[in-house]
Symmetry: C2
Amino acid sequence: MSILVMKFGGTSVATTDRIRRAAKRVAREVANGHDVIVIVSAMAGETNKLVGYVNDIAPFYDAREYDAVVSSGENVTAGLMALQLQEMEIPARSWQGWQVPLLTTSAHGAARIEDVPTHNILQKFAEGMKVAVIAGFQGISPEGRITTLGRGGSDTSAVAFAAAFDAVRCDIYTDVDGVYTTDPRICARTRRLDRIAFEEMLELASLGAKVLQTRSVELAMRYNVKLRVLSSFEDGEGETTTGTLVCAEEDIVESNVVAGVAFSRDEAKMTLISVADRPGIAAAIFGPLSEAGVNVDMIVQNIAEGGRTDMTFSCPVDQVKRAERAMNEAKAAGGIDFHDLIADTEVAKVSVVGIGMRSHAGVAATMFKALAAENVNIKVITTSEIKISVLIDRKYMELAVQALHDAFGLDRAA
Amino acid sequence: MSILVMKFGGTSVATTDRIRRAAKRVAREVANGHDVIVIVSAMAGETNKLVGYVNDIAPFYDAREYDAVVSSGENVTAGLMALQLQEMEIPARSWQGWQVPLLTTSAHGAARIEDVPTHNILQKFAEGMKVAVIAGFQGISPEGRITTLGRGGSDTSAVAFAAAFDAVRCDIYTDVDGVYTTDPRICARTRRLDRIAFEEMLELASLGAKVLQTRSVELAMRYNVKLRVLSSFEDGEGETTTGTLVCAEEDIVESNVVAGVAFSRDEAKMTLISVADRPGIAAAIFGPLSEAGVNVDMIVQNIAEGGRTDMTFSCPVDQVKRAERAMNEAKAAGGIDFHDLIADTEVAKVSVVGIGMRSHAGVAATMFKALAAENVNIKVITTSEIKISVLIDRKYMELAVQALHDAFGLDRAA
């Protein structure tokens, strides 16, 4: 018995007609001899509607009730998908998170999966059931309350099931047909990657490529789950050759030095001017920011002069107010001393990612030269082993992405 | 500690603003010193939308999946109501059916409540929680699947909780401000009843008055739960004197002989012409109808002549095709023999109901005289101890309701 996990995102189950088309794909895999675990998201728009209700009623909500409300969309799709499969004479039933039960931590709104017991579902497969349809995005806490895994969490549900059931593959059906060298809406010459390494996908996902939830890639990497991203909107033959396979580095024979260009529009750059420098000052700054729920991304500390230094960091633009409050409170409490706090809310982050960087020198030089040729000024730079990111003025973002896509020859396969 | 149960129907929680208004009523009862159990329906229109999805995908659906889908609307409202109460600084949390757990039979789509364990909720009340918000309409089967209690089932949830927790009262908030002598849309002189006996309410509910689910009244009668029907759309003072109290007969000091006039528009009259009469023929007819899911209401058998008889019964108009198929199949199988089957789909049922009938003669005579005076022809008559029902041409229905309302003086209190 080989188990295949198939996950359908919100646009792939947006209407009963789309659910029907998704079910046909499932039927094809059943015909191929698989027992299938289907993970479904809520119908497109439903979760946003529910989040809207919650925010309307309680902007500072109890996350346990938030989870109880926003998880309901997946339950609807799971039941409908099971019904559709039954209509096609395929033995199927639905499971809600608490029925599996998919056990998570109590971190409501962003719970982590602790265990996916396989007994119940394996027994049904043994009894002749062909498809288990699972409401994605949701689980149950040790206290018996419903939890959710964060936006995009159905991807993580899918990978967790693939790992727990030792699935042959985890197919993520979405509204794009794979992972591209960059966003086709920004760059006309973009190209779909046949394969991409977990590490690269992880960087791309963290950097704002919305195709997969970051945690799902982490999990796939840890358990070596073969993850395939493909479109539920195509209906061609030979479909198994399409899409992008996210896999271990050793499964990729040849690749470009740079796999893709990622970007994130909604960044802000904040600079603490003339901070009194002392050992522990970084902790004194970033402790309060973390407690205030500010997701600090890039950090740059300028050379200190006369015992004072400038500290620059970036964060999502909608967290600027929160960051300012945290810094001013820390200053008032005497934890830090600075002259001024300047927020630049008109910046974007552009990154190049590729495992080939490990063995190729000169990637940074090529990147900076390409940006300089377009007169794009770089405000902040950070690097990792397989990534270089820069903050630039937001108005140059598209120009920068196109220039880098050309500079690294991403329109051509390796 | 006194526990009050408050149930809010779909129109009373149709928007976040309505939920806010309902929460204010709850807050008032908390201020009055009650611990409150709130039962909520889905936001108006939601359940119909979900039922529509199911019918679109699978007209002959698996009732277990149907229940999983259509129960989700109540989960949304329960979470939102808990959040709204918390916003008003009232300690509250939501429970879904399986969390209580509200235990039911496995009769999906129309499950019966087996038990409402009180331990979890009482413990939270003891810890300081003031309001338990329960998703109505739903429970959990012995197999761990979600069940629903049938349309309008949140009323039954509410009464079951009131019985289990020995509540001082069960207030049903809806879009009308009580139980009327008849439907105000049909008769201008209708009057709200201050009190009505369980038995009367039961007949009215069965007869098509949509204000309460029939089973909820049965349950209230069995456990002597004081049931109050009142509007969530009024905001006046002295509200506790409004609405209609559904209570035991002995709590009603004086009442009219007839409490109300009920009607049901969507009836059909079916007549089997010249049925071969023999012992057991009724079972041979109504057995197959029952198996086909036809809800037979009135039954009349004419005097047999020459070993043959005419058998007339009524059923909801949308079950006529099913009834015809069942009868023709039974005929083909040799179970019954008849010459013809005639369906009259243009009939309506009008009934007068009142516990006073037990002690007052002449109610039937008054009824028939009033209808005759308006030239309304009676097609079928059935009676019970506290009710007389007639089938008439549908086009005379409103006329008949008004004539009976006048004839029994229902515009005046006893």
